[in-house]
């Protein structure tokens, strides 16, 4: 009886916390115009907001997708071997490396944007997808190193040693043994790298100056900049941009808590 009461309270807490998310979906289904007319329920749902969102922001969604996928690949390729080294090799450099990662978390994105803007301007990476992928690795790489390392600390050294006795080099043993075992933590790190990059707003805002390359976060910001007339199109874009987070939460629940906890420097 008491346990049921707890569940009811839990559901109520969740309703309050998730109300804005509900409101986003509700507003996206309302007829166009401002939200003055929006009722608590989308009794007459219309998809005109989504049609407009896809017309105007469809290309930006694709851009975001390419940038996020690229960031995942590049971040994992760079972070995984390093995470392994930091978890298994004995060296005083390990603690120096970890300290460097800790300090890197204190550098505001605007500092990175300032420097990359001037450098990109010179080498022609402004307004380019590779430029944004590289910038987004600034959040992907340190996070992936921390997540992967905290998992790899639990790998028994005997696993790799057995392969080594059979004559495999360090790198072969890493690819053939360590990577397959680390699959779950690789998924966690990859999901979060994707999400960070998909959510990126600062680099999109500062490292693009023309309309050519425009991630969807920037598209939403530009909607907000002009006087908002059609909340349903804005909210439909917001819903579409929230899809990765929602899918992640439903499909990959167990990876997420691991990511949240692993990301806090252990």
């Amino acid at each position: 009886m008491r346990r049921t009461a707890y569940t009811v309270i839990g559901v109520l807490i969740l309703c309050v916390m998730l109300f804005p998310v509900y409101w986003m979906v509700n507003a996206s289904l309302q007829p166009s115009g401002n939200t003055l007319t929006a009722g608590f329920l989308p009794l007459h749902p219309t998809f005109s907001g989504y049609k407009r969102a896809l017309d105007e922001q469809g290309g930006n969604l694709v851009t975001s997708m390419i940038i996020a996928a690229g960031t995942v690949v590049l971040s994992l390729a760079i972070a995984t071997p390093c995470a392994y080294a930091l978890s298994q090799f004995r060296s005083r450099w390990v603690s120096i490396g970890l300290l460097a990662i800790l300090i890197s978390q204190m550098i505001p994105g605007i500092v990175i944007a300032n420097a990359l803007y001037t450098a990109y301007e010179r080498i022609g990476l402004l307004n380019s997808i590779p430029g944004l992928i590289i910038a987004n690795c600034a959040s992907g790489i340190p996070f992936a190193i921390l997540i992967l390392r905290s998992f790899m600390l639990s790998l028994p050294p005997s696993l790799v040693e057995a392969a080594r006795v059979d004559g495999a080099g360090l790198f072969r043993a890493f690819v053939a043994i360590v990577l397959p075992i680390s699959k779950n933590s690789l998924i966690t790190a990859g999901l979060f790298s994707f999400l960070f990059s998909w959510s990126d707003f600062l680099f999109a805002l500062t490292l693009t100056t023309k309309g050519g390359v425009r991630p969807v976060t920037l598209g939403i910001y530009q909607y907000l900049g002009t006087q908002v007339q059609n909340w349903n199109a804005v909210m439909a874009t917001a819903v579409l941009s929230a899809v990765p987070a929602i899918v992640l939460l439903v499909a990959a629940q167990k990876y997420i808590a691991a990511g949240a906890i692993g990301g806090a420097v252990k």
Binding site: V21, P108, L170
Partner: protein, 312 residues
């Protein structure tokens, strides 16, 4: 016979030596890409910002390539700007207000979810959604909720007769900062719940059972068992909170753009404004260096605190 064995042994030792040298090279190759990436994405920007903050680095520089050295002039300019003290105060209020409430509410919810009840796990993971949404999506959603005339918050409060006239949540200098802090609290609660819950889960039940025998229940159990055992998680969380909150930009730009009348301008938004709106990169760099310095002070306190905890 003897010599033969000797050369064989020597040969094997040589092979092993070569193997070892190859090995340490491989080890370096494991770390090298990440080290270079960290240098390019963090080391270079920090050095570049330090240099830029000492230069007259403006729009002209991009055409002429010239950025004259000006010493500490940029720091002087930004610190004596009449906006600076407001931005400092706003940054402090934003950071302290956000963290205090995120932590308190997060702790409350974590303690609640510690009770075992059906669906507890599912509800807890659904709670993470606000943390996973892109910040600009949250900003857009809250802007529609907080709209003065048509937003659902004002309409609800009016219907309940809590207020008579609609509150200009984002348009009035006196309430905009509170509204922005409120949204940031909402975004941060899930992360706090998750970390504090994992901290609570690591406290062994036996401690509570033993405490119960000594009469430590309710508040006393919290005070003497829960809190001391949660302290290390709490200190990590608060340090991360300061470091992350102090540099928040997306939420403020999305909700108010630093307005109205600079009421929500922080050091981070100021730095963005100087660099990418006014194209005064030198001044923007000076402001963000001040931001880094503040983060470092907190980090040092934290590191000293944890070292002491380890030493004890």
């Amino acid at each position: 016979m003897v010599t033969l064995t000797r050369t064989r042994v020597a040969g094997r030792a040589k092979v092993r030596g070569r193997h070892h040298r190859g090995e340490s090279l491989t080890k370096v190759l494991f770390v090298l890409p990440a080290a270079l990436a960290m240098l390019a994405l963090f080391g270079y920007p920090v050095v570049k910002n330090l240099l830029m903050s000492l230069q007259d680095y403006g729009l002209k520089t991009f055409f002429t390539g010239v950025a004259p050295w000006v010493g500490l002039q940029n720091y002087k300019t930004v610190v004596t700007d009449k906006l600076f003290s407001d931005a400092m105060l706003n940054t402090a209020l934003f950071t302290v207000g956000s963290i205090a409430f995120q932590f308190a509410i997060g702790l409350g919810l974590a303690l609640f979810f510690r009770n075992r009840f059906p669906l507890s796990g599912v509800l807890r993971s659904l709670l993470l959604l606000p943390w996973l949404l892109p910040l600009i999506v949250s900003s857009a959603t809250w802007r529609s909720i907080l709209e003065q005339d048509s937003g659902i918050l004002n309409r609800t409060l009016q219907a309940l007769h809590v207020i008579n006239d609609p509150v200009p949540w984002l348009n009035s200098p006196s309430v905009a900062l509170i509204a922005v802090i409120g949204v940031n609290i909402w975004i941060g609660i899930p992360f706090n719940v998750t970390l504090l819950y994992s901290g609570l889960a690591e406290i062994p039940d036996e401690l509570y059972e033993a405490g119960q025998l000594d009469g430590a229940t309710g508040w006393r159990a919290f005070r003497y068992i829960t809190w001391p055992n949660l302290r290390s998680v709490a200190s990590v969380l608060l340090m991360l909170g300061v470091v992350y909150t102090i540099k928040v930009l997306d939420i403020i730009l999305g909700l108010t753009g630093g307005g109205p009348a600079n009421a929500t301008q922080t050091l981070a938004t100021q730095s963005y404004q100087k660099s990418f709106v006014d194209f005064r990169f030198g001044q923007g760099a000076a402001l963000s260096n001040i931001l880094i310095a503040i983060s470092f002070v907190f980090a040092i306190f934290y590191l000293r605190g944890t070292r002491r905890a380890v030493d004890e």
